[in-house]
């Protein structure tokens, strides 16, 4: 149970590559923090620096107020679950879980008690005598968790623990991890590139790109109030539609020109654009697929902008249908009711919810208004 603080942490490799740049984060006790981002964004490196497996080039890492930069991994009181589980292949499940406790020279009885207790939580009791090679992927994953749990560490670090599991097992394990977090009440830092895992598990999410933190926020805020175009595009599946637009002002009201289409904006967005002098400037308009409706399912067209576009493709997923439109060379996706009668090749009328439009500065990629 611990607080963790990273201030101005940098990681520069010997070859000059900057993997992590000025990372700042305060983690409260019992938080479930997710590091998410595309491959090579520095999320695993940051986790490994917290674990002590990578040196911190500059900056400060504190666990419970104590500076940990030069402390050996074994003395940091952390436990880590690795992507490939890293179970010791020559040891049984019991020995794998007991390894850390044996090194701490705990009495045999206590070790047994702790391992059996953890095995009970993870439903591994009947597997304690097996070697890792005789376990399924999901079971190995649980042993890796068990190895972390028995130690009762201050902080749990998890490096893409579910990425080697199949889709069904992943959902199941995701729920189990969430349950574990509630049960154990330990601080967890979890690295993933899967945004579903990030959104469902995290109390707060750190979105990273090219070694730089893009936004640290709750899942809700990340989705609804992204700070920049990258976060907007990264979080959400299918991703947010981003369209190039020109801001025009007429009679003290700003509107957007997307190709030949004119898109009116609600008052607060219009005022913000005028106030920040975006008139006649290129900006980027973002809208989530679920904020685009097809004409048939539209209950009211108040505050909606109607566009005509040709359906280039569609995907039926059962509970929902994705329509892919082409608007002036921009491909946009709409998530619509599966009852829709629109078909590939049709020219359909679609409606954009203008209140849900996000506006981004084209040059800085920063959000103008959400």
């Amino acid at each position: 149970m611990a607080n963790l603080s990273l201030s101005h942490v940098n990681k520069v490799y010997d070859n000059g590559f900057e993997a992590v740049k000025d990372f700042n984060l305060e983690i409260e006790d019992k938080e479930f923090i997710i590091f998410v981002g595309p491959s090579g964004c520095g999320k695993s490196t940051t986790l490994r620096m917290i674990a002590g497996l990578e040196d911190i080039s500059s900056g400060e890492l504190k666990i419970d107020g104590k500076v940990m930069n030069d402390v050996e991994p074994k003395d940091r009181d952390i436990a880590m679950v690795f992507q490939n589980y890293a179970l010791y292949p020559h040891m049984t499940v019991f020995d794998n879980m007991a390894f850390g406790l044996k090194l701490r020279k705990l009495p045999k009885e206590e070790i047994k008690e702790k391992v059996v207790h953890a095995a009970k939580i993870l439903d591994l009791e009947h597997l304690l005598d097996r070697k890792p090679s005789a376990l399924s992927g999901g079971q190995r994953q649980r042993v890796a968790m068990g190895r972390a749990i028995v130690r009762n560490p201050k902080v749990f670090l998890m490096d893409e623990p579910l990425s080697n599991l199949d889709a069904k097992l992943r959902v199941q394990m995701r729920q189990e991890i969430s349950k574990l977090h509630r049960q154990l009440g330990t601080t967890i830092i979890y690295v993933t590139h899967d945004q579903t895992e990030a959104m469902t598990l995290g109390t707060r999410i750190v979105v990273m790109k090219d070694g730089v933190v893009q936004q640290i926020d709750t899942p809700y805020n990340l989705y609804n109030k992204p700070k920049n175009m990258f976060v907007a595009g990264f979080i959400g599946s299918p991703q947010m539609n981003l369209l190039d637009a020109t801001c025009k002002v007429k009679d003290d009201e700003a509107y957007l020109e997307v190709g030949n289409n004119k898109i009116n904006l609600p008052k607060e967005k219009s005022e913000k654009l005028i106030k920040e002098n975006y008139a006649d400037k290129k900006i980027v308009m973002g809208i989530r697929p679920e904020d685009i409706y097809d004409r048939e399912s539209l209950e009211s067209d108040v505050d909606k902008v109607m566009l005509h576009a040709k359906v280039s493709d569609m995907e039926m997923l059962g509970a929902e249908t994705f329509l892919y439109f082409d608007i002036n060379g921009n491909s946009i996706t709409a998530r619509v009711d599966p009852k829709t009668t629109i078909k590939t090749g049709d020219t359909a009328e679609i409606a954009l919810d203008i209140h849900k439009i996000h506006l981004f500065d084209k040059e800085t990629s920063k959000t103008i208004i959400n």
Binding site: G52, L53, E72, P73, K74, I78, M80, A86, F99, R147
Partner: protein
């Protein structure tokens, strides 16, 4: 369609027959000398003839007389004791120290140039012929006073280091770094990580190293011949004692071959044990 299938089948058959024939031929190259060794070991010198049918014929009556005599001539139990001592101690030292050194070098050579240099330096030792080192080594060992079993063990440990380093570092690449990292996070030091995690995982390579090193040490004549020459003969190894059979005036093949067969037994037993380990290792490695 049927004819094509038949053709393919015929072709397949030919290939299978070809392979079988080749394997039989290869097997013969091993089985034939072994057969000769066994029958000669049991024959009396009077039965040795120069005609083919006579040479290939089984001995008229099997007797262990040659073996008994060979044991006496070579002071078998004493010399095999020396050979066993030298081989076993060398193996223990080699497995412990070579794996440790290979772990240090293998894990660091990609990060530090100095370790990479060390690796290349030691590996280059493989290309130095023994004959080049022989005379200086004879001098050195006798000056230091290790022209005995101890000296042999030290020399073998050094001679086999390049090959074993190559084998161990190659195998280490198959052991994921994450295992060591997991051990560090679990609370292990580098020392404990090596002994509790890495050393047991190197088992298949230990078996390979043991078999290769044991074979060479056990059969080596040259090193004991030159190093032990100053000694009183109490350290004589079995292959060295077997040189007795080859005299200036001829070779007693019957005794020599009986003795060679006796010398073969321990190494064969070792191989049978190690072979199981090697196969186990290969199977374990395939399951990730």
């Amino acid at each position: 369609m049927a004819t094509i299938k038949k053709k393919i089948k015929n072709k397949g058959n030919i290939a299978v027959w070809g392979r079988t024939l080749l394997l039989i031929l290869l097997a013969l190259t091993i089985v034939f000398p072994l057969y000769m060794t066994v029958i000669i070991a049991f024959k009396q010198p009077t039965e040795m003839t120069n005609d083919v049918s006579g040479a290939l014929a089984l001995p008229r009556h099997f007797s262990f007389q040659n073996f008994i005599q060979a044991i006496q001539t070579t002071d078998f139990f004493h010399t095999i004791g020396n050979s066993l001592f030298i081989t076993i101690v060398t193996l223990i030292v080699v497995v412990i120290f070579h794996s440790m050194a290979a772990y240090a070098i293998g894990r660091k050579m990609n990060k530090h140039k100095s370790f990479n240099f060390l690796y290349l330096y030691f590996i280059s030792g493989m290309f130095v012929p023994f004959s080049m080192l022989m005379l200086p080594l004879v001098k050195e060992t006798s000056i230091i006073g290790i022209d005995n079993k101890l000296g042999l063990i030290i020399l073998y440990t050094v001679f086999f280091f390049p090959m074993n380093l190559l084998l161990y570092t190659g195998y280490l690449k198959n052991i994921p770094l994450a295992l060591e990292e997991a051990a560090y996070v679990d609370g292990a030091t580098t020392w404990t990580t090596f002994w509790k995690v890495i050393f047991p995982l190197l088992k298949p390579m230990h078996a390979t190293v043991i078999v290769l090193t044991a074979l060479s040490v056990w059969n080596d004549v040259m090193t004991p011949l030159v190093i032990l020459s100053g000694g009183s003969g109490k350290d004589t190894t079995l292959p060295l004692a077997q040189l007795l059979f080859q005299t200036q005036f001829g070779t007693n093949y019957n005794l020599a071959f009986a003795s060679y067969l006796l010398a073969l037994v321990p190494i064969l037993i070792l191989y049978l044990f190690a072979q199981k380990q090697i196969i186990n290792g290969v199977v374990n490695g395939s399951v990730k």
